[in-house]
C-alpha cells in the first residue's frame, strides 16, 4: 500500500486555505472530508518518526507517531468531523477557515517531533482560535478576540524564550522529550503550557472566548485549544509534582464558577476547565495508571463537551442567549435541543453508562495513589458539582413551563445531528470502553462497571442531585438571575485597563506638552537662523555686521604689519 509520510494536521491547514474560496454548500463536506483524510493518514502509518530532516544543524521532525499522540489525534479529528456537520447550519466562510486552521495547527502540533515545529504549530492553532472569536457575529466578539490574541501572544513569547534556552543547551535538546521544570528552558515552556491548559489565573481566556464565539466556534474552541495543552504536558512534563496541586486548584476554581454562572456557555467552559484540572492532576501524579487515566479522560471529555457546547449553541442560535435565568419554556420550544443539553450535561458529569464515567473511574483509582484522601474527594466531588451545574440547573429551567402556548422553534437539522453524533460517541464509549482502553499507551485491564465502582458513583450523583433539589425547593439556592460574574480578568479589563488608559492619557499629554515646547523652540531657532541668513545676504548694509567686517579687515591688516615687523 502507498504510504504517504505527511503530518495529518497539514491536510486541515491546506483545507483551511481551500475553504476561503469554497462555496457554502461545499464547506461542511470539506471540513469533514479533511478530517477523514487526516484520520486515514494517521491510522495508515506504523508508529515511529518520518519526514525527519536537519535545518541549520537542528533536527526537524514533522511526523512522529506514537500511542500518545494517536489517541489525541483520533479524538480531535472525530471532533472535527462533528464540527463539520454542525457548520452546515450557518453561513460563515471566515469561521470555517479559522476552525480548520485551529484544528490543523493543533493536530500538527500533536504529531511533530521537535520543539521548534511544535511551537510553530501551536502558535498557528492560537491564531486560528483568535480568528474564530473575531469571526463570531456576537456583540463584543472583536474585543474578546483581541484579548485572546494578547493571551496567545504571551504564550508564544514564553514558548520562544523556552525553546531558545533549550537550544542554547545543544541541538539535540530541541527534540521532544521529557523536560525539567527547574531549567530555564523547561520552566518557560511549562509556563506556556499551563497558560494553554487554562491553569488558575489563565483560566479566564477559555471562558471569555467560548462565551463570545459563535455556536459552532465555541465547540471548536472547547475541543482543540486547551486539549493541546493537556497533550503537551503529558508529553513534556509527565510526573511533574507541581502539576498535581495546580490540577486540584483548577478543579476547585472551575467547579465553583460552573455552579454559579448564569450564562450556561460560561458554565460549560468552567466545567471544562475543572475536568481538565483532573487530567493535569493525573499527569502530575505520573504513575502509568494515572497517565493512562489522563489521556483517556481527555479523549472522553472532548466528546462530552463537544455535545454540550453544540447543544447550548443550538439554543443560543434560536433564543439569542443561553442564560439559565432566561431559559424558561425552552424545553417546549426546542424539545430536542433541551434534551441534548440535559444529556450532554450528564455526560460531562461522568454519569455511569457514558464515556466520561469510564475514565473518571480510572482517575479515581489513580488518585488513591497520591497523598491523602483530599485529591480523591475533590475529583469525586467534581462529578456531583458538574451534575448540578451542567445537567440539573439547565433542565430545571428549560422544562419550567411558561403560562400560555409556546411555538416550537427547533434548531436547524445540522445543529441537532452534530451534538447527537457527539452524544452517540459518549454512549458507545461508555457502554463498550474496551476499544478506548485498547488505544491507550498503557495496557489496561479495568472494569468500570463492577458493582463496587458503579454503585458508589450512582450514590454520589443521586445524593447530590436529590439534596440540591431539596435545597432548591426550600429556596436555599441562589435564585437564577441575569448576572455576569467577574473573574480575575476583571483586573485587566477593569482597574488595569483603567490604569493603562490613565497612563496613556498622561503620556499623551506629556508628549503633547513636549511637542509644543519643541515647536516653540524650533520656531525661535528658525527665526534666529533666518535673521542670520538674511544678514549674510546683505553684507554691505550698515549696522553691526558692517562694523564687524571693518574691524575684521583692520585686525587682518594689523596682523600683516606686525608679521612684517617681526
Amino acid at each position: 500500500m502507498l504510504a504517504i509520510a505527511l503530518n495529518p494536521g497539514f491536510v486541515c491547514i491546506i483545507a483551511a486555505l481551500v475553504a476561503l474560496a469554497a462555496p457554502r454548500i461545499v464547506r461542511p463536506a470539506l471540513i469533514a472530508g479533511a478530517a477523514a483524510v487526516a484520520l486515514w493518514l494517521m491510522l495508515d502509518r506504523e508508529f515511529g518518526a518520518a519526514m525527519a530532516a536537519r535545518q541549520m544543524g537542528l533536527p526537524v521532525v514533522l511526523l512522529d507517531l506514537d500511542a500518545l499522540n494517536r489517541i489525541f489525534g483520533i479524538a480531535m479529528l472525530l471532533a472535527l468531523i462533528v464540527i463539520g456537520i454542525a457548520s452546515g447550519a450557518r453561513r460563515n466562510r471566515a469561521e470555517d477557515a479559522a476552525m480548520l486552521l485551529l484544528a490543523g495547527g493543533a493536530v500538527s502540533a500533536l504529531f511533530v517531533g521537535d520543539l521548534i515545529s511544535f511551537v510553530a504549530a501551536a502558535s498557528l492553532s492560537g491564531i486560528g482560535a483568535a480568528w474564530i472569536v473575531f469571526a463570531s457575529p456576537l456583540p463584543n466578539a472583536a474585543r474578546s478576540g483581541a484579548r485572546m490574541l494578547i493571551w496567545f501572544g504571551l504564550e508564544g513569547l514564553l514558548f520562544l524564550v523556552g525553546v531558545a534556552f533549550q537550544l542554547s543547551a545543544g541541538a539535540g535538546s530541541s527534540e521532544i522529550t521529557r523536560l525539567d521544570v527547574a531549567t530555564l528552558g523547561g520552566g518557560f515552556l511549562f509556563a506556556a503550557l499551563l497558560l494553554r491548559a487554562g491553569a488558575p489565573f489563565a483560566h479566564v481566556w477559555i471562558k471569555d472566548a467560548i462565551a463570545h464565539a459563535s455556536p459552532v466556534g465555541a465547540a471548536a474552541l472547547g475541543a482543540f485549544t486547551n486539549m493541546l495543552g493537556v497533550y503537551a504536558l503529558a508529553r513534556l512534563f509527565p510526573a511533574e509534582p507541581l502539576l498535581a496541586p495546580i490540577g486540584l486548584s483548577m478543579i476547585v476554581v472551575g467547579a465553583a464558577f460552573a455552579v454559579a454562572e448564569d450564562d450556561l456557555r460560561r458554565a460549560a467552559a468552567s466545567g471544562l476547565t475543572a475536568q481538565i484540572g483532573v487530567c493535569v492532576m493525573l499527569i502530575g501524579i505520573g504513575s502509568p495508571l494515572a497517565l493512562a487515566a489522563a489521556e483517556g479522560h481527555a479523549f472522553t471529555l472532548m466528546f462530552a463537551f463537544l455535545a454540550l457546547n453544540l447543544a447550548l449553541g443550538a439554543v443560543l442560535g434560536r433564543q439569542g442567549h443561553a442564560r439559565a435565568s432566561q431559559m424558561e419554556g425552552v424545553g417546549r420550544a426546542m424539545p430536542l435541543s433541551a434534551a441534548l443539553v440535559f444529556f450532554a450535561g450528564l455526560a460531562a458529569a461522568g454519569t455511569p453508562g457514558l464515556a466520561t464515567y469510564v475514565t473518571t473511574s480510572i482517575a479515581l483509582e489513580a488518585a488513591t495513589q497520591w497523598n491523602g484522601a483530599a485529591p480523591w474527594a475533590i475529583t469525586a466531588g467534581l462529578s456531583a458539582a458538574l451534575l448540578i451545574a451542567l445537567a440539573l440547573r439547565p433542565a430545571l429551567q428549560t422544562y419550567r413551563g411558561l403560562p400560555g402556548p409556546t411555538q416550537t422553534n427547533e434548531a436547524p437539522f445540522p445543529m441537532l445531528l452534530a451534538p447527537a453524533l457527539a452524544a452517540f460517541f459518549c454512549v458507545s464509549i461508555g457502554l463498550a470502553p474496551a476499544w478506548l482502553y485498547g488505544l491507550l499507551p498503557t495496557q489496561l485491564a479495568f472494569r468500570p462497571y463492577e458493582l463496587e465502582r458503579a454503585g458508589p458513583q450512582l450514590e454520589l450523583l443521586g445524593a447530590a442531585g436529590a439534596v440540591y433539589l431539596a435545597l432548591r425547593a426550600v429556596k436555599f439556592t441562589a435564585p437564577e438571575r441575569s448576572q455576569r460574574l467577574i473573574d480575575v480578568d476583571a483586573i485587566y479589563r477593569g482597574p488595569a485597563a483603567g490604569a493603562g488608559r490613565w497612563v496613556g492619557v498622561v503620556l499623551l499629554r506629556a508628549y503633547g506638552a513636549w511637542a509644543a515646547q519643541w515647536e516653540r523652540f524650533a520656531t525661535a531657532a528658525g527665526a534666529a537662523i533666518a535673521r542670520v541668513m538674511r544678514a549674510c545676504d546683505r553684507p554691505y548694509r550698515a549696522g553691526a555686521f558692517g562694523a564687524a567686517q571693518w574691524v575684521t579687515l583692520a585686525a587682518a591688516l594689523a596682523l600683516a604689519l606686525l608679521w612684517q615687523r617681526l
Binding site: 433564543q319 469525586a380 466531588g381 433542565a395 450514590e459 447530590a464 436529590a466 433539589l469 439556592t477 441562589a478
Partner: protein
C-alpha cells in the same frame, strides 16, 4: 375583571427528585452490600459517597450565593439578537 395568569409550572423538579432519590438509594445499597476488602480511606467507606454528594450540593448552593454576591454584576444589554441564526 382581570383574570390572573396561571402559575408557572414547576417543570420536572418532582420527577427528577424521585429519580435521583431512587438512584441514590440503589447506589447506597450496592455500596453497603458489595463485598470487598478494606478501603483506602474513610471517605471510601460505605455511605461516604452519599455524604460527599450531599456536602457538594450544599457547597454548590452556598457557592452560588457567595459568588453572585461577591462577583455578580448586572448585565448591560449586549444585543443578544445578533446571536440568532443568520442562515
Amino acid at each position: 375583571m382581570i383574570k390572573p395568569a396561571p402559575p408557572k409550572s414547576r417543570g420536572i423538579a418532582g420527577v427528577l427528585f424521585v429519580c435521583l432519590l431512587a438512584v441514590a438509594t440503589a447506589g447506597l445499597l450496592v455500596d453497603v452490600l458489595a463485598l470487598r476488602g478494606p478501603r483506602f480511606s474513610i471517605i471510601a467507606e460505605p455511605g461516604a459517597r452519599a455524604a460527599l454528594g450531599a456536602g457538594v450540593a450544599v457547597a454548590a448552593a452556598l457557592t452560588g450565593f457567595l459568588l453572585r454576591w461577591l462577583l455578580g454584576r448586572p448585565i448591560q444589554d449586549e444585543g443578544g439578537a445578533h446571536a440568532r441564526d443568520r442562515a
